[in-house]
Symmetry: C2
Subunit: 357 residues, 2 copies
């Protein structure tokens, strides 16, 4: 039974990737007709989902003329953006992120919200879209008119992937989506990147399994505004409640967050649709508190500044490490400092002088 | 009584600063005699404490001829270094860091160890050496032949202060100090900097007071190899034991550290000299385990590489942010992204183009 499931998922996944390739092909043909940025922006603002998809594909493209067109589009959409709430959701594979997002999304749609689900997964180039790539995992959400689901952009660097997702948020907001959910699977520093682009950060966990088994990285717990213990159903119910109490006690030992929000712990069963309404109430409560105390807007301002400086520093680093002289010498310098033959500072000075010349 | 103590400390602090100034004066005069780097290095390696002090003053100097001389000295000392254990100790002011370090130091001296105490405190320029500046706080340690105590180098940037301390470690090791203790007070990112230059990281805490009262920053608990609850004496004893149990439970919820060491929680009373021996046993246990499993050496290699890349990136950033064109334009660009008039990525691209020209 479980083997069959796996097969099924693999199959769907392939179908989905090839569907995506077809969509890109179709888009490229459409592009030849040279839709103007103005037309595209107007269509997005008037809530045309196809235009939104096209806009995001433009953002994800690596072709030079697409890049400048995408920048123009984002600039035009910007005045219509910044009017959603952005929720980050992380958790290891198997924790039930898709089922949880689907359950939460369905509740929001019933409340007349429009929701967009995006993803940050820098590994998706290799795994062909491990998260959200297989849209059929959120079947009911995919079919809903008020939901928009988009797999993680592909790319080798987290910076690049995160930038594309962050730019896509702007288009989604311009298209009138009220709730933007960003899913991440926690590869490398992707949680930190997602944490820096959302208003609320939710960590999904399982009861029973220790963190070492769940592969949660150190530091993630301290970023969470809420920990939700999923699969609190059947035999798992007691363990889930125990885990909730443990986490509540543990979180009390933490310093208060800047938002003056005390992170909460809840249990839910996404598959049985239990406890999801409570999660949404909690998130709403957070938004009420942080809107009143000014943290919400202040945090967005800080995030914008953070991404500006972060991007500059990535440009600087990439220009340094891709310099031919540096490429030729870096390894031997690292080797020398690792063998304690040279101090890191002496090696850094040597390389930096080389770069300046 | 407590008021008297404060006065006394202030007085001592002033004395200490002026003693330091005198020492610098004396050194400058000595410098005019042009001691060769070879002579200085030989004296350091033959365990001459005055030479060690001179060497560190050379590292701390901002004069151009001193900087190059210091680099030469460090290089000559390097083959004699890397043979100590390095312990980082952090905790908020008032937690009893000095008393704790003195108690631990005295135990180590009894065990025929040579210990050096250094500090990283980027705020010390303003506060005139808030930590270790007042050496009289560790009276018995200051008088001991096998102990060497040095206040934090002054400086405006954490990077600069951290570099000087890290280079001083090399001279201390060359002078035969077995245990190097690095104290930090946790200003800005200084804990992260110290964590990246030590083998074992110890967080000192008080019982009862929550983290919000203790001013511990988020993320610090996850860096600690041990949490030691100080002032576990008198009326405090029960609360300290309760805190120990709470932290033990909380730490179990964390993922296993890379060192495969499970962080421990102990209580102690530095002032009554109780529980310090247990702390040292714990630290020794850590060193045994991580030496056997290879983490100790692997971690030092990683730290060296980290400091190399970190220093390069600091050079790059400082060269960028000090560029006249960037200085002129950065504020208005930050303003624009914070007001959602421009994306962070568009602003970054604009500034980077400006810099390249």
């Amino acid at each position: 039974m479980s083997k069959d499931n796996t097969k099924n998922t693999n199959l769907n996944s392939k179908v989905s990737v090839s569907t995506r390739d077809q969509a890109i092909d179709r888009f490229k043909k459409l592009q030849q007709k040279e839709i103007s940025v103005d037309t595209l922006c107007n269509a997005i603002v008037s809530k045309d989902t196809t235009a939104l998809s096209k806009g995001i594909t433009l953002i994800e493209s690596t072709q030079q003329n697409h890049i400048s067109k995408a920048q123009e589009l984002i600039e035009k959409c910007l005045p219509h953006a910044n009017n959603s709430v952005r929720i980050g959701i992380t958790g290891v594979p198997g924790v039930g992120k898709s089922t949880f997002i689907e359950a939460l999304g369905n509740i929001l749609i019933q409340k007349d919200k429009k929701i967009a689900v995006l993803a940050v997964d820098p590994s998706s180039t290799v795994s062909h879209g491990s998260i959200l790539g297989d849209k059929t995992r959120m079947e009911s959400l995919v079919r809903a008119d008020n939901a928009f689901i988009r797999p993680s952009p592909s790319g080798n660097s987290l910076g690049g992937v995160a930038q594309k997702t962050r730019e896509s948020i702007i288009l989604c907001e311009a298209a009138g989506y009220d709730v933007i959910i960003i899913e991440t699977v926690g590869v490398g520093q992707s949680e930190t990147a997602v944490h820096s682009m959302v208003d609320f950060f939710l960590l999904l966990k399982l009861a029973g399994a220790g963190d070492e088994l769940q592969g949660i990285k150190r530091g993630i717990i301290e970023m969470a505004d809420a920990i939700v213990i999923n699969k609190a159903d059947g035999d798992n119910l007691k363990r889930a409640r125990e885990a909730k109490n443990q986490f509540r006690k543990a979180l009390h030992l933490y310093p208060l967050a800047e938002s003056s929000w005390s992170p909460e712990v809840l249990t839910c069963s996404a598959i049985e649709n239990k406890g999801i309404e409570e999660v949404w109430k909690l998130i709403q409560n957070y938004f009420e508190i942080t809107s009143k105390n000014g943290f919400f807007e202040e945090n967005r301002r800080k995030q914008n500044k953070f991404w500006l400086l972060q991007t500059i520093e990535e440009h600087l680093k990439s220009s340094f490490y891709n310099h031919p002289e540096i490429k030729a010498k870096l390894c031997s310098q690292i080797e020398a400092v690792q063998q304690h033959k040279l101090t890191p500072f002496a090696a850094a000075r040597y390389l930096f002088e080389l770069y300046k010349e």
